[in-house]
Each structure stands twice: as structure tokens, then as C-alpha cells.
């Protein structure tokens, strides 16, 4: 682990990401359980994006973009599983499956876009 965790040299004891990880998870859960597409997609984006941001901040990865692509792949698998299971359940999972896949696609696009187009910044961590 990083000897000096945190956002910057000055603010070693703060990180903006945990709050949003914790907010993204329940929003995604609500959306997926009740089949509310905007909440499902938005919650997954918030969750996935924050996890990627946090991984970079704590130095496990050097940029958030590839992490985001990896999270996108995991999300895609979950979405695919929902769609695969759909014909076998009495309640329709179609909407939930496509919502998850949609979130995965957005994360993939952002991840690839960031990798290609983001300006190199002075990465302190």
C-alpha cells in the first residue's frame, strides 16, 4: 500500500471516492431490483466509476481508464447472465439485463475514450 494514502500531499487523510462508491451501490440495487432503468444504469456508472477512481488514487492502477474497462467487462458478464437467465424465469429480466449491458457499454466507451484522449497529467500517486 501507499505510504501516504490520500488525495494530495497536503490532504493525506481524505478521499472523495468512498462516498460515491457507497452511494452508487444502493442506487444500482434499487434500479435492478425494481427494474428502474435510469437508476440501474446511473447507479452502476457511479459505482463502477468511483471504484476505478479509487483504484487509481490508492495506486493499484496507474490510470483509471483501463480499470474502468475491466469493470465494464465484469458488468457486461452480469448483464449477459441476466439476459441468459431471462427465458427461464417467470418475471421478465430483459429490461434489467439490457440496463446492465448499457452501463457496461458506457463504461467501456468512457474507458477507451479516456485511454486514447485524456491528457497526460502529472500522476502523483
Amino acid at each position: 500500500m501507499d505510504e501516504t494514502p490520500g488525495l494530495s500531499d497536503q490532504y493525506r487523510m481524505v478521499s472523495p471516492w468512498p462516498l460515491f462508491v457507497a452511494l452508487g451501490l444502493p442506487i444500482a440495487e434499487l434500479g435492478l431490483l425494481f427494474g428502474l432503468v435510469p437508476l440501474a444504469v446511473g447507479g452502476l456508472l457511479l459505482f463502477g466509476g468511483s471504484v476505478a477512481g479509487m483504484l487509481r488514487e490508492s495506486g493499484y492502477v496507474s490510470t483509471p481508464w483501463r480499470a474502468l474497462v475491466a469493470i465494464s467487462a465484469l458488468t457486461f458478464v452480469v448483464g449477459g447472465a441476466l439476459l441468459y437467465a431471462d427465458p427461464m424465469t417467470t418475471v421478465s429480466l430483459t429490461l434489467r439485463g439490457y440496463a446492465t449491458v448499457a452501463a457496461a457499454v458506457v463504461m467501456l466507451v468512457v474507458g477507451v475514450g479516456g485511454e486514447l484522449f485524456a491528457f497526460d497529467t502529472d500522476v502523483a500517486a
Binding site: G6, M13, V14, P18, P26, G42, V91
Partner: protein, 593 residues
């Protein structure tokens, strides 16, 4: 209508994500700050040594274990007030027998059932578990001399999962269209909680509560992993397994229990949610089994009791010797009994199910283990008593609470031993006896130990003293109130009063009124406590030495006070103002010292 709703949700969600992005972009700007060039939003943050931004942003972004401990504490106390208010409404209703058609005060039994459900869940998951996390977060790294928790960000995530969890659990009480509060009781027994039948428990309010509970479970699990990792890997070299303190031992054991119990609750909750929403049949009569829920729930639920009680036992084992003037008697055996309780706690769950018609041979074996778990509990009790025996007792408020803990724990424990016995349980099951028994533990013991901890470490956290006379009034009101309320319940149970009812037969009126009077004493004591803590935090007398409890005299001081002393000295060397108060969220007053 449907489309408009979706559109509105989309717009709101988009706005939220945009807001988050803007906030993150602003916060990420901090990265470019050089220490001396600080400015921006933080007017007074020019100090090089200051590690956090000022104001509310600090609390939303902190990963410091002490800050997170304070957040947990604040959260838990707010939940305690909410849960307490709920039960005061119930106790007020129970002043009169009422009749089924309409309740005298609350209007409907439905509302009573809602309060009953939320009171239980709030107190166990939103107060009990978090208040322990508050102590553990603040103190364990200090006591074992770690820089911070092993995973500071996971720590923050674990805390921030709790507020959404609370909102979901209480969602039924908010004025949302078509959402009613859950009325499943905290045990959420199927088939009622599966929403089948003619009742109203297929309502979305129950789903929201289950989701909220799921979140608090995820939070507890993350916290537990963090504590295990911290205690194993972050100890300083001086702290060995042989001299690890008793509080950290109980937190370690508790975290182990959480690690095995909470994921099971999470899975069971997901199964129930799937049953309710996606047509699975885990708990359905025919195809599934409603009793399966009880097995899954209590496999989590009974260890949960020890998850809640072990760390408070640790606090008592840690604090009580300081004011008994002696070291803890039989330290090793207190540790062993903690571990023994941890192991045995997974083998007793079916004692909650003696009356469900399970195999009598199973009942007998669960009875045996349930009786056996009384042994390590008694070992601890005798150790506390022998620690005090011939000691030089100082009856400070934390000590009073420790003694109150031991006293109430004995009553709560002994009433439990009887319940562990199958024939007695069959008579007393689902009566107020059970309610009295477990409230002696959760209120009389767990909460009392929490109060012992709060008063004992108040000077450590705030650098100030609480008001002693108010604190003692608080203790006596609670000691008398607890025993009035819950002993009356034990007697009500002997009389055959069933639990969870909003109405009762007139012959139970006297005991119910005694219980309500006791609850009123608890309420007044609670008000005094909140007033005392709030005012003392802001303007209590400043602590004048690094050893406010004079522990050094008898060589009883512990690591966290050494840290306190050091922090005071650093603060004095720096000019006496900064650091000391700021690290812990206190305000620095210009006229202080």
C-alpha cells in the same frame, strides 16, 4: 404517466451524476495544491500540518479512522434517538389495554406493528453495530499503535453505506405514495415477509427495508475484514498476541463472527427479495420451505447477539479494572472465554426454533450447546467480580456503568439459561419473558457498556470533561428505568402476555404501566445524556493533564492515553491551539487556554 416517471428519474439521475462529476473535478483540483499555497474553499487551512480540508467537505471525504469513528458514533446516536422515540410511542400506547378495532394513541395496530419492526431493526443494525464500530475505529488503531486502519478507504465506504441503509429501512415512514412501513418484526419470518396471503406485506416498503438491511450487512462485513486485517498486520512491534489488549481481542473475535454470519444474512435477504420480486420459491410452502428462512436467519441471528455483546464485554473488561485499582483478574481466561463464545455461538441457532416442530433430537443437542455457552459467559462475569473484589473502587460514571452492566448481564443471562431449556422455552416462547430477557442484554448490558465507553473516553476524544452530576443522574435513571421496564416484562411473560401485541387483557395493565414508567425514566435519562454530551463537547471544562483519570498512580494507564498525552504536548509545543482540537472535530475557541 409511466413514461413521465421514467423521464423524471432519468433527468434526476443525470443531474446527480453531473453534480458528482463537477464535485470530483473540483476536489481533484486539491491535488495541485502545494502545502503553502493552500486556499480555495478553505479559508483557514493554510497550516502545513493540516491533513484535511475544512468544513463539511472534510467529513464527506475523510478516511482518518478517528473521524470515521466519530461519524459512526454520531450516526449510531441519531439512530438510537430514532429507535428510542419509536419505542416511547409504543410504550405510551401500552399504557391502556385498548381494543383491536382502534388503538387509543396510535390509531391502528398496523402502525404499532410498523414501529415494533423498525424499533428492533434500528436498534440492532443502525445503533448497536455502528456504535461498536465507532469505538473500534477510534480506539483499536490507537491502542495497537497502528497509523490507521489497514484499508482506510474501505473503512469510509463501510460507513457511507449506512446512511442510505437507514433511509431505506425507514422509507415506509416517509410520505411516499403507495409505500407503507414493514410490519414483519425484525426476524422477518416467512411466509409473512414473503408477501404472500391476504396481508399487506407484499408492499414495496418491505423490499426497501430488506435492501437497506442488506446494505448495513455489506457495511458490517467490510468493516470486519478491515479490523481483522488491521489487528493482524498493522500492530506495532511492541504489541504481540501475548499482550494484545482485551478490547482488540473482542473486536477481532467479533469481526470473525461478522465474517461468517453477515454474508449469510445478505444471501438470505437476497433470496427473500427474489422470492418477493422475481418469482423464485425458496421460502414458499410447497416447492420451498418457510422454516428454511428461520434456519438461515438464526444461523446469522444468534451469532449477531454475540457480535453485539462481545465488544461491549471488551469495553467493560478494559474500563472496569481502571477504576477497581487492579489489573483484570484472569486476563487469559477472559480471552479464552471470548474465543469460546465466538465458536459456540454458531451452534445454538435452533434454540430460537424449539416450538416450530423440528426434530426433538435436534432440539436436545441445541439445548445442550445453548446451556454450555453459559459457561464462558459466567467465566467472564466471575472475572469482573473478582477484579473488583478487594479492589479500591472509584465510582466514576464509567465505573457505575460497568457495574450496572455486570448486574444487568447477570439477570439477562440467567433468564436466558432458562429459555435454553426446551420444556421451559415451550411455555415461555413468544411471551414478554423473552422480550424482558433480551432487553436486559441489549439495553441493560450492551448499551450500558457503550455508555461506560462514551463517558470513559469522552476526555480523550474531546479534550474536555462531561458534567459529572448530570452523568450520574443519567446512570441512576437508566439503572432504575432498565430494571423497572424489563423486569416487569419478565413478570408479564410469566403471566402469559404474548409479545408483539398492541393490545392486552386488563389484568396485565399494572405491569404494563410499570414498564411504561420505566421507559419514561429511560427517556428522561436519554435527554440528559444528549444534553450533557452536546454542551460538554462545546464548553465543558478542559482536561488539564494527559492522564485525566489518574491511572498512572496505580500503573493502570493504557496506550490510548499515552497517545492523548503526546498529542497534548505536540499541541502545546505548536502554540497550544491547533491540532489538539482540530483533529477530532472540536472547534478551537479563542478564549480556551
Amino acid at each position: 404517466m409511466q413514461v413521465t416517471g421514467q423521464l423524471l428519474l432519468t433527468v434526476l439521475m443525470g443531474a446527480l451524476l453531473l453534480g458528482v462529476a463537477v464535485f470530483l473535478a473540483r476536489v481533484e483540483d486539491w491535488r495541485s495544491y502545494t502545502p503553502l499555497g493552500a486556499g480555495g474553499t478553505a479559508g483557514e487551512s493554510g497550516y502545513v500540518s493540516q491533513e484535511k480540508p475544512s468544513g463539511i467537505i472534510r467529513w464527506f471525504t475523510t478516511v482518518d479512522h478517528k473521524d470515521i469513528g466519530l461519524l459512526y458514533g454520531t450516526y449510531a446516536l441519531i439512530a438510537f434517538v430514532v429507535g428510542g422515540t419509536m419505542v416511547m410511542l409504543m410504550r405510551a400506547e401500552l399504557w391502556t389495554p385498548s381494543n383491536d378495532a382502534s388503538l387509543d394513541l396510535l390509531g391502528s395496530a398496523t402502525f404499532y406493528n410498523s414501529l415494533l419492526t423498525s424499533h428492533g431493526i434500528t436498534m440492532l443494525f443502525l445503533f448497536g453495530t455502528p456504535i461498536i464500530a465507532a469505538f473500534a475505529n477510534y480506539l483499536v488503531p490507537l491502542i495497537i499503535d497502528a497509523d490507521d486502519m489497514a484499508f482506510p478507504r474501505i473503512n469510509a465506504i463501510a460507513f457511507w453505506l449506512l446512511p442510505p441503509g437507514a433511509l431505506l429501512i425507514w422509507a415506509g415512514f416517509f410520505p411516499l405514495p403507495d409505500v407503507i412501513p414493514a410490519q414483519t418484526a425484525w426476524t422477518m419470518y416467512t411466509p409473512l415477509s414473503a408477501g404472500v396471503g391476504a396481508g399487506n406485506q407484499s408492499n414495496v416498503g418491505v423490499d426497501l427495508m430488506l435492501l437497506g438491511l442488506h446494505l448495513t450487512g455489506v457495511s458490517a462485513t467490510m468493516g470486519a475484514i478491515n479490523f481483522i486485517a488491521t489487528i493482524f498486520t498493522e500492530r506495532s512491534e511492541d504489541v504481540t498476541w501475548a499482550n494484545l489488549d482485551i478490547f482488540s481481542w473482542t473486536i477481532l473475535t467479533q469481526s470473525g463472527l461478522i465474517l461468517f454470519a453477515f454474508p449469510l444474512l445478505g444471501s438470505a435477504l437476497v433470496m427473500l427479495l427474489l422470492d418477493r420480486n422475481l418469482g423464485t420459491t425458496f421460502f414458499v410452502v410447497g416447492g420451498g420451505d418457510p422454516i428454511l428462512w428461520q434456519h438461515l436467519f438464526w444461523f446469522f441471528g444468534h451469532p449477531e447477539v454475540y457480535i453485539l455483546v462481545l465488544p461491549p464485554m471488551g469495553i467493560v473488561s478494559y474500563v472496569l479494572p481502571r477504576f477497581a485499582g487492579r489489573k483484570l483478574f484472569g486476563f487469559k481466561f477472559v480471552v479464552y472465554s471470548t474465543l469460546a463464545i465466538g465458536v459456540l455461538s454458531f451452534g445454538v441457532w435452533a434454540h430460537h426454533m424449539f416450538s416450530t416442530g423440528i426434530d426433538p433430537r435436534l432440539r436436545a443437542s441445541f439445548m445442550a450447546v445453548s446451556l454450555a455457552i453459559a459457561i464462558p459467559s459466567a467465566v467472564k462475569t466471575f472475572n469482573w467480580i473478582t477484579t473488583m473484589w478487594n479492589g479500591k473502587l472509584r465510582l466514576t460514571t464509567p465505573m457505575l456503568y460497568c457495574i450496572g452492566f455486570v448486574s444487568n448481564f447477570i439477570i439477562g443471562g440467567v433468564t436466558g439459561v432458562f429459555l435454553a431449556s426446551v420444556p421451559v422455552d415451550l411455555v415461555l416462547h413468544d411471551t414478554y419473558y423473552v422480550v424482558g430477557h433480551f432487553h436486559y442484554i441489549v439495553m441493560g448490558a450492551i448499551t450500558f457498556a457503550g455508555m461506560a465507553g462514551i463517558y470513559y473516553w469522552f476526555p480523550l476524544v474531546t479534550g474536555r470533561w462531561y458534567q459529572r452530576r448530570l452523568a450520574k443522574a443519567h446512570f441512576w435513571l437508566w439503572m432504575v428505568g432498565t430494571n423497572l421496564t424489563f423486569f416487569a416484562m419478565v413478570l408479564l411473560g410469566y403471566g402469559g402476555m404474548p409479545r408483539r401485541y398492541a393490545t392486552y387483557l386488563p389484568e396485565f395493565a399494572t405491569l404494563h404501566r410499570i414498564a411504561t414508567v420505566g421507559a419514561a425514566l429511560l427517556f428522561v435519562g436519554g435527554l440528559i445524556f444528549v444534553y450533557n454530551i452536546a454542551t460538554s463537547w462545546v464548553e465543558g471544562t478542559r482536561v488539564s493533564s494527559g492522564d485525566p483519570w489518574n491511572l498512572a498512580e496505580k500503573n493502570l494507564n493504557t496506550a490510548e492515553w499515552a497517545w492523548f498525552e503526546q498529542r497534548r504536548e505536540t499541541a502545546l509545543a505548536d502554540g497550544g491551539e491547533e491540532g489538539d482540537a482540530v483533529t477530532d472535530g472540536g472547534k478551537v475557541d479563542a478564549d480556551d487556554e
